[in-house]
């Protein structure tokens, strides 16, 4: 007879070891799936690493994916720490991109040192306000933020689509539904061949780490996340904490929208996120909402994504194989949560049916 038994509390070190070994187990399991699809998993994995890391161009591409992933994960983590399930990073990213693009497109004569900070500010504000809507609904009407943030993603994405084929359509594009390319003063400069976002991302890792671990606001966020009743009894203003931290969460995601539009696409279109807003939920969760770990996990996921794109070119394998690997990893890590708390034991029914047991 199989029984699920509650385990004694695991030390953080053992839990981390379990999690890492689960990722390896996931790679093996995904390997089996790749095998069933008719490819050699070892070739696939080595090609993925080759495609993500082995020359300067490929590494740049990987880092270009890692930058937004890091900042989005940080944003998601701030909200998750409070147990505010912000599934809306994607939408907040789009709104941030819209805000930044508005400045870039309609005030294109601003000098670069005013233009870029202004675009960032617009991105942060638009993303923040987009996140604030579900937060206000939650604190005033008690709505479920998971649903509201999720659905607002589609609203934001379709809004970009509307701008693209409607009011913001580039008249010089011969009727092709696209928005005009930004002028050079609206494009993030490069440092060591990669847009400056990587420096911003590294700074933000440190800032968010200090915010969550050492600031009063971070402390309040944790208390509120763990136990809202206690937060109330300690005299904390719950709506204030909720709104401020959701503003930070959405603001970070909005900033990513600005960086993607300005640093990568140099325009606004429906594809600027590439689904990273959803991937960030996985990375933030895998990193246990710890800012330094987010940096590592996001980079590894960027390798996976970039490697997946390379598969398409090198082996003519669909990039969705990489998504399969991603999914399997998430599945295994979620399972590891279960195994940190429970174990399955095989127990024998003693006494009365001992004989029956022996016969089996």
């Amino acid at each position: 007879m199989l029984q699920i038994v509650k385990k004694q509390e695991m030390s953080p070190r053992n839990a981390a070891i379990l999690r890492v070994s689960m990722v390896f187990a996931a790679l093996i399991a995904a390997g089996v799936i790749i095998l069933i699809l008719g490819y050699n998993p070892i070739t696939v994995y080595s090609k993925m690493i080759e495609g993500a890391l082995t020359n300067k161009y490929r590494l740049t591409q990987t880092i270009n994916k890692a930058i937004p992933l890091v900042i989005l994960s940080l944003g998601v983590a701030v909200a998750f720490k409070m147990k505010f399930w912000n599934i809306g990073a994607e939408g907040q990213l789009y709104m941030g991109a819209i805000g930044a693009s508005y400045i870039a497109l309609f005030h294109s004569d601003l000098p670069i040192y005013i233009m870029l900070p202004l675009m960032m500010l617009a991105g942060i504000l638009c993303g923040g306000i987009w996140a604030l809507i579900p937060a206000v609904l939650k604190s005033s009407l008690g709505t479920n933020e998971t649903l509201v943030t999720l659905m607002m993603n589609y609203v934001a994405q379709k809004f970009v689509n509307y701008l693209q084929i409607g009011p913001w359509k580039d008249p010089k594009a011969f009727g092709f539904p696209k928005i005009a390319t930004f002028t050079d003063n609206a494009v993030l400069p490069k440092v060591f061949g990669i847009h400056i976002g990587w420096i911003i991302a590294l700074i933000l890792v440190v800032v968010v780490h200090i915010l969550l671990k050492h600031s009063k606001l971070g402390y309040e966020i944790s208390v509120l996340g763990e136990n809202p009743q206690t937060a109330r009894y300690a005299g904390m203003s719950i709506p204030k904490i909720l709104l401020v931290s959701v503003l930070i969460s959405g603001g970070l995601c909005g900033l990513v929208g600005m960086m993607q539009a300005s640093g990568i696409e140099k325009t606004l279109n429906e594809g600027i996120s590439g689904g990273l807003g959803f991937t960030a939920i996985i990375t933030a969760y895998l990193a246990q909402l710890s800012a330094p770990v987010i940096l590592v996990v996001s980079f590894l996921f960027a390798v996976l994504l970039q490697g997946g794109t390379f598969l398409q070119v090198a082996l003519e394998i669909p990039a969705s194989v990489a998504e399969v690997v991603q999914g399997v990893i998430l599945f295994f890590v979620l399972a590891s949560e279960f195994f940190t708390n429970y174990k399955i034991v095989i127990r024998h029914r003693e006494s009365a049916d001992a004989g029956k047991e022996a016969a089996e």
């Binding site: 763990e226 136990n227 109330r232 009894y233 006494s351």
Partner: protein, 507 residues
């Protein structure tokens, strides 16, 4: 003749903890057997084994002298053993009848009519009073308990196990319950009553088994023992059972809190507090008695600034608190700690360590935007030393501490803020005797320092001995404020039930 049920040499471990360590326990027909022990002594584990929820690691269960194995609660019910849990397992929106029949495999349809009669007959047999068609949510606590008992009897129980049945009852209701139990004993049933109240053990039981740290210390005839002896067996060393009412320097006593006509409404628009007025002095313990849900929680929260107040005023040292935020009220020297049933619900964060928990109120007064955890560690160590909290260190997570230590962290933090008014609700909830007395000492010490204390309690014996005055609440109203020295448990009990002194029968 064999004992009806006998548990022999029962051992059950959870991880490295031996919850039951070679325990022997037997139940005879027609007896009331008290199972006595502090929290964590293994009472619940033993009863869960008897009701088929756990399987013992070793040892055997004999039914009428024959070995039997319970694989599930159904086996235990079939053997005539029924358990009434401390937290009732009833469906609120269903009637008593439906609750009693739930889980019975007597065909697809409810035999509504005959069922009602059957239940009425059964109730009559044991002289229980219950209306089978009344919905559970309309019932008082004692009625719900009766339904639980009937549910177990309906399934043919010969052995009735009651887990802390008196914890939720008033003295009058306890008397009714005890009459019921004596009646069942006369009918040949066996009753096991789990409790830690010595007075009840002495009053109702025929035999008593004492458990300590997972071991059965002794089974003894109640007639041959006394409360002092039982305490000693239970805690392992002799200890005094008296709670002192501390004497205070009269110069320290002056009114500090005045509550005038305070009214608070529940969301359903019925009053949770109904024109409540009282005064509390410094150096005084004002006890609050009442059935659970009589407005105690709302009173605490209203003073702490957490309730929306519909009418009346709360004046602290000459200044109204109504317009102040909860934070400002804390700064003024009013602290409130409320220990809910799950203990960790309000006031502490289980997943955080002691340092972060003691900082919950103090962090607001720290300069700058950062939390000073060095200072937090200092405060935590101070509280750990002062209140003798046993923990591997200040970095230990609070939820991993034992119940007594958890409550000491909570109370320690409040007292460490040097309050002038200390509101404490159920501070000894679920604590063992030693830890409870520790907390009474702490409260008395605060009182002698001139702190005004509003003490919301459950145990009337404790309230009567530690308080200076007792305020009795019923459905959000103050039924009376009595002098704790001269009043009696019965008087308080009547007020708790909502009887005004003048409607009291001549008894």
């Amino acid at each position: 003749m064999h004992d009806y049920v006998e548990l022999r040499d029962i051992t059950k471990s959870f991880g490295s903890v031996k919850a039951n360590d070679h325990i022997n326990f037997s139940i005879r027909r027609g007896e009331i057997h008290a199972l006595l022990g502090e929290n964590g002594s293994g009472k619940s584990t033993l009863m869960n084994i008897l009701s088929g929820i756990y399987t013992p690691d070793s040892g055997e269960i004999l039914l009428d002298g024959k070995p039997i194995v319970f694989h599930s609660p159904a086996d235990s019910i079939r053997a005539g053993i029924g358990m009434v849990h401390q937290h009732f397992k009833l469906v609120d929106v269903l009637s008593a009848k439906e609750n009693i029949a739930a889980g019975e495999k007597s065909g697809f349809w409810l035999r509504a009519k005959s069922l009602g009669d059957e239940i009425r007959d059964l109730a009559k047999k044991y002289s229980l009073s219950v209306d089978p068609d009344k919905k559970i949510y309309q019932m008082a606590v004692s009625e719900k308990q009766t339904v639980e008992i009937l549910k177990v009897l309906y399934r043919g129980a010969q052995v009735l196990i009651l887990d802390e049945p008196t914890a939720v009852l008033t003295p009058q209701e306890i008397r009714v319950l005890f009459d019921i139990l004596r009646n069942m004993k006369a009918m040949g049933c066996a009753v096991v009553i789990i409790t830690h109240k010595l007075g009840e053990v002495m009053e109702i039981s025929d035999r008593v088994t004492v458990l300590r740290k997972g071991k059965s210390i002794e089974t003894i005839d109640t007639a041959n023992t006394n409360a002092r002896m039982l305490t000693e067996m239970m805690v392992g060393h002799p200890m005094s059972l008296d709670i002192d009412r501390a004497k205070v320097d009269p110069a320290l006593i002056r009114p500090i809190l005045q509550v005038n006509d305070l009214t608070v409404m529940r969301p359903e628009n019925i009053p949770a507090l109904d024109h409540v007025s009282f005064t509390l002095s410094s150096g005084e313990i004002l006890g609050v008695a009442g059935i659970a849900g009589s407005g105690q929680k709302e009173l605490c929260e209203a003073i702490a600034g957490l309730e929306h107040i519909t009418g009346g005023d709360i004046v602290f040292k000459g200044q109204s608190l109504l317009k102040l935020s909860p934070r400002d009220i804390i700064v003024r020297g009013i602290t409130m700690s409320f220990v809910p049933e799950d203990r960790l619900g309000m006031g502490l964060v289980g997943a955080m360590n002691i340092i972060d928990n003691v900082l919950l109120k103090a962090y607001q007064n720290m300069p700058g935007v950062f939390v000073d955890r060095k200072e937090g560690k200092r405060i935590a160590n101070e509280i750990i030393d002062r209140f003798e909290i046993s923990t591997p260190g200040p970095h230990h997570e609070v939820k991993k501490l034992s119940g007594g230590n958890i409550q000491k962290v909570l109370l320690g933090r409040e007292i460490n803020l040097n309050p002038e008014l200390l509101i404490t609700a159920y501070p000894v909830r679920g604590l063992d005797i030693g830890a409870s007395y520790n907390i009474y000492d702490v409260l008395n010490e605060q009182k002698q320092k001139g702190v005004g204390i509003l003490f919301i309690g459950e145990d009337l014996d404790v309230l009567l001995s530690i308080s200076d005055r007792i305020m009795v609440m019923h459905e959000g109203k103050i039924m009376g404020i009595l002098d704790a020295v001269s009043t009696t448990k019965e008087e308080v009990g009547l007020l708790m039930l909502g009887h005004m002194p003048d409607e009291k029968e001549d008894a």
